[in-house]
C-alpha cells in the first residue's frame, strides 16, 4: 500500500472537487464548523448523533450505517474523501469506521480542515443535495477493532500504545486540556503501554509526518513494529489517528483500535492500572 492510496493533499482535492463518483465528507463533533463554512460539495457526518448508537455505548449497527450512507448519497463504489477539524481526529475515526464496515475506496485529506484554512482555501456555506443511494455495508471487520478483554490479555505481550498527552498518561489529567477535568473514571494508563501521543505523528499544520519519520518515532519509543499493536486514547478517536498512521501509512498488518479506550478501561473494576510518567 502506498501513501497515495489512503491520503490526498489539499491541492489534489482543490483540483478534483467536481470529479464524478467522489464524495467529500466533513466529520466534526462541532457541527457548527461545517455550518459556518466547508469545502464546496462536502456533506457532513456528525460522529456522535450519526455514527454512535443513541442508547448503548457502541456504533450504529450495519443497518444503521447502510441507512446513514444511503441518506447521505454515498454509493458503495464512490471514492470518499474524509476531512475534519481537531487535526482530523474524527475524520480518522470515521475512516476507521468506513473500513470497519468494508468501504473500499476511502481516503483522508492530509491536514484536514486546519491545513485547508491555514492555506486560506475557499469555504462555502451551500449544502449540497445528493440523491439517496442503496448502500450495502459488510459485517464489521474485527481485525481492526479491539475490545477490553483483549486489551487486558495483551498486557506484557502485544504492543500497547497510549496516544493521549503525557499528562493524561501519567494520571495528572483525565482529559485533553481543552476540556474540564471532572470525570468519573480512574486516572492512569494500561500497564506496559508506551506513551506516544498521537501528535507525534502529525506536523503543526495537521499533516502526517513522512513514513521514515513515523517509523523512527514508534521504533525509538520501543514499539516492536513486527508485533500486533493496539492503540487507545480516551474515547477512541485520537487512537484512530495513530491507527491510520501505523496500519494505513506504514502498512503494518495487525493494528487495532480500542475504541472503548480510557473512558471504558479506567472505569473497569479490578483491572490493573499504572500511574506515573513514561518509563
Amino acid at each position: 500500500m502506498s501513501r497515495s492510496d489512503v491520503l490526498v493533499d489539499a491541492e489534489w482535492v482543490a483540483s478534483n472537487l467536481d470529479a464524478p463518483a467522489l464524495v467529500l465528507v466533513e466529520v466534526d463533533e462541532d457541527v457548527s464548523a461545517y455550518d459556518k463554512g466547508h469545502i464546496r460539495g462536502a456533506v457532513k457526518i456528525d460522529w456522535k448523533t450519526e455514527l454512535q448508537d443513541p442508547v448503548r455505548r457502541d456504533f450504529v449497527d450495519k443497518t444503521g450505517f447502510e441507512e446513514l450512507l444511503s441518506a447521505k448519497g454515498i454509493a458503495n463504489d464512490d471514492l470518499v474523501i474524509l476531512y475534519g477539524g481537531n487535526n482530523n481526529w474524527f475524520a480518522a475515526y470515521a475512516y476507521w469506521y468506513f473500513k470497519l464496515y468494508g468501504h473500499e475506496n476511502v481516503k483522508l485529506l492530509d491536514g484536514g480542515r486546519k491545513k485547508w484554512e491555514l492555506d486560506s482555501r475557499e469555504l462555502v456555506t451551500d449544502v449540497p443535495s445528493r440523491p439517496a443511494t442503496g448502500y450495502k455495508a459488510k459485517d464489521q471487520d474485527l481485525t481492526i477493532r479491539s475490545f477490553r478483554d483483549e486489551v487486558v490479555d495483551s498486557i506484557g505481550s502485544k504492543g500497547l500504545i497510549d496516544v493521549r498527552s503525557p499528562d493524561e498518561f501519567s494520571g495528572k489529567l483525565l482529559a485533553p486540556a481543552h476540556l474540564p477535568q471532572e470525570q468519573a473514571q480512574r486516572a492512569g494508563h494500561v500497564p506496559t503501554a508506551r506513551s506516544i501521543p498521537w501528535s507525534k505523528a502529525a506536523n503543526d499544520d495537521g499533516t502526517f509526518k513522512s513514513d521514515d519519520e513515523l517509523r523512527k518515532i514508534y521504533g525509538d519509543a520501543g514499539v516492536d513494529l513486527n508485533k500486533p499493536i493496539i492503540a487507545y486514547c480516551r474515547i477512541g478517536e485520537r487512537s484512530s489517528h495513530t491507527w491510520f498512521a501505523l496500519r494505513e501509512l506504514l502498512g503494518l498488518p495487525d493494528v487495532k483500535n480500542y475504541d472503548g479506550s480510557w473512558t471504558e478501561y479506567g472505569s473497569l473494576v479490578g483491572v490493573p492500572i499504572e500511574l506515573g510518567d513514561p518509563k
Binding site: K48, K114, P166, H178, L179, D205, E237
Partner: protein, 102 residues
Amino acid sequence: MTQGCAAPAQTASLPATVDLSNEAVIQGTVTREGAPVSSAYARLLDSTGEFTAEVVTGDEGVFRFFAADGDWTVRVLAAGGVSIDSTVTAKTGEVAALAVAI
C-alpha cells in the same frame, strides 16, 4: 453518552458548568490590529514542548485550556504562516490570561 473531545465554545466568559476552584485555566485572545481573530489555532504545549491540546478561536478571538499547575507554552497558528509562542504559568483556581497580537 460519553462526552466527546470537542472543546466547549470558546467564549470570553467561563462556561457556567465549570468550577474554577478545580481547574487551572489558561485563557487568551488573538487579535490582529486590535480586532479579534476567529479561526486561529491555539496549541497548548507542556514544559517539554509536547503537544497537549488545541482549540480554534471563536468569534471573540478567545481560546481556553483546562491545564494543570505548571509552566506551559501556547502556540498560535493563523493563515499567512503565523506561528507565535507565548509562555504562561497555570495555577489551580486561577485564570492565567494571555493576549496574542498577530
